[in-house]
C-alpha cells in the first residue's frame, strides 16, 4: 500500500514523499526511510508520527499508525556560527537542543567546545533560548546564532 507523507511548514506543503509499505512493515522501518531522506534522527521522526498525542512505539505496524497519509510539521531555522550559515528544517516538536547539536556537527565544533555554546535568537547578542523547550511553529525562517559566551572569572579553589 502506498503511504504519502507530507512535509509541511506554516506556509504550506514543502514536499510529499511516497513509500510503498507492506502490512508487516513497522513504523520504525518507515521512520528510518524518512530519517535518511530528511537527514534527521529516527527518534524525531517517530515523535512526529505520533497522532493525536498517542505514543508511537517502533514496532507498531506502520499502516495501523498512519493509514494512508501522514504529515510532518517542520520549521525553517537559519543557523549562524561565527562566519558560517546553514539553513535546515527541523521538526516543530524537536527541542532546541537538537539545533545546537546539529550545528556543532555541521560546523565541525569539537565536543568540549560544543558544550560551551548557547543558542541566541535573532542576533549574536539576542536573547538566549532554553534548549529543553520545543522549537514550535514559525512563519518564515527563524534566525538563530550558536554563540560562545564570554569567560566567567572566578576565584579558583579556596
Amino acid at each position: 500500500m502506498k503511504v504519502h507523507v507530507k512535509v509541511e511548514e506554516e506556509e504550506g506543503v514543502l514536499q510529499t514523499l511516497e513509500y510503498e509499505l507492506l502490512p508487516t512493515d513497522s513504523i520504525n522501518a518507515l521512520a528510518a526511510k524518512l530519517a535518511a531522506d530528511l537527514d534527521e534522527p529516527v527518534a524525531d521522526i517517530l515523535a512526529d508520527l505520533g497522532a493525536n498525542g498517542s505514543v508511537v512505539t517502533a514496532d507498531m505496524p506502520a499502516l495501523d499508525v498512519l493509514h494512508a497519509c501522514a504529515s510532518l510539521r517542520r520549521v525553517c531555522i537559519e543557523l549562524h556560527f561565527e562566519t558560517e550559515t546553514i539553513t535546515h528544517r527541523f521538526s516543530q516538536k524537536a527541542k532546541w537542543e537538537r539545533v545546537h547539536l546539529f550545528g556543532c556537527k555541521k560546523f565541525a565544533v569539537a565536543d568540549d567546545a560544543c558544550a560551551n555554546l548557547e543558542l541566541h535568537e535573532g542576533t549574536i547578542d539576542g536573547p538566549v533560548l532554553n534548549e529543553q523547550k520545543r522549537i514550535g511553529p514559525a512563519n518564515g525562517c527563524r534566525t538563530i546564532w550558536l554563540v560562545k559566551p564570554g569567560p566567567e572569572p572566578n576565584g579558583g579553589r579556596h
Binding site: D112, A115, N116, E118, P127, V128, L129, N130, E131, Q132, K133, P149, E152, P153, N154, G155, G156, R157, H158
Partner: protein, 149 residues
C-alpha cells in the same frame, strides 16, 4: 530610593521577562532588598536563589541558595558539580558564590572591587544569566543529583 527604583525597573524589564518565559527563572518573593528567585537547571530541577540587593546598582548583589521552606542556607539547597563548577559555587563548606559580580566573592577577592564588573545595564539579569549558565551549560560542570525511583 533610586536603588529601589532601578531594581523595580530591572524586574519589569523585557530581559527579565524573557528569562521567565524561557523557563530559566521566576520571581518567588520580593521583600525590601531581598529577592527569592527560583532558578531552573537543564534537567528540570530547581533551586531557590536568595539575592541581597541592598544598594542596588552601586553595590554587587550577594547570592546564596536556600531551602525552599525554611529559607535557610543549608547544604541540600545548593547545586553541586565537579571541580570546574566548584570554582564558582562553594557548596561544600562556606556556601557562597565566588564571582566578580557577587558581594561575597569580592570579600574573598578585594582586588575585584575596583573592576566594578557588577555595574551592568541590567545588574539583576546579568547575575541571573551567570547562574543560568552554571545550571545549563555542560562546560560549567553542574552535576544533577541522581534521580530516585
Amino acid at each position: 530610593m533610586a536603588a529601589a527604583t532601578n531594581l523595580e525597573q530591572d524586574l519589569a524589564s523585557s530581559e527579565f521577562a524573557h528569562g521567565v518565559h524561557q523557563g530559566f527563572w521566576e520571581l518567588v518573593e520580593h521583600t525590601g532588598a531581598i529577592l527569592f528567585i527560583r532558578m531552573y537547571a537543564a534537567e528540570g530541577r530547581s533551586y531557590l536563589l536568595s539575592l541581597n540587593a541592598a544598594s542596588y546598582g552601586e553595590e554587587p548583589l550577594e547570592g546564596r541558595f536556600v531551602d525552599f521552606e525554611s529559607r535557610q542556607v543549608v547544604a541540600s539547597a545548593w547545586p553541586q558539580g565537579n571541580s570546574v563548577f566548584e570554582q564558582w559555587v562553594k557548596f561544600k563548606n562556606d556556601f557562597f558564590i565566588c564571582w566578580q559580580e557577587d558581594r561575597a566573592g569580592i570579600r574573598q577577592h578585594p582586588e575585584w572591587r575596583a573592576l566594578e564588573e557588577w555595574k551592568k545595564p541590567n545588574q539583576l539579569v546579568s547575575y541571573l544569566n551567570f547562574v543560568r549558565r552554571l545550571l545549563h551549560l555542560k562546560s560549567r560542570g553542574y552535576l544533577p543529583p541522581p534521580t530516585t525511583g
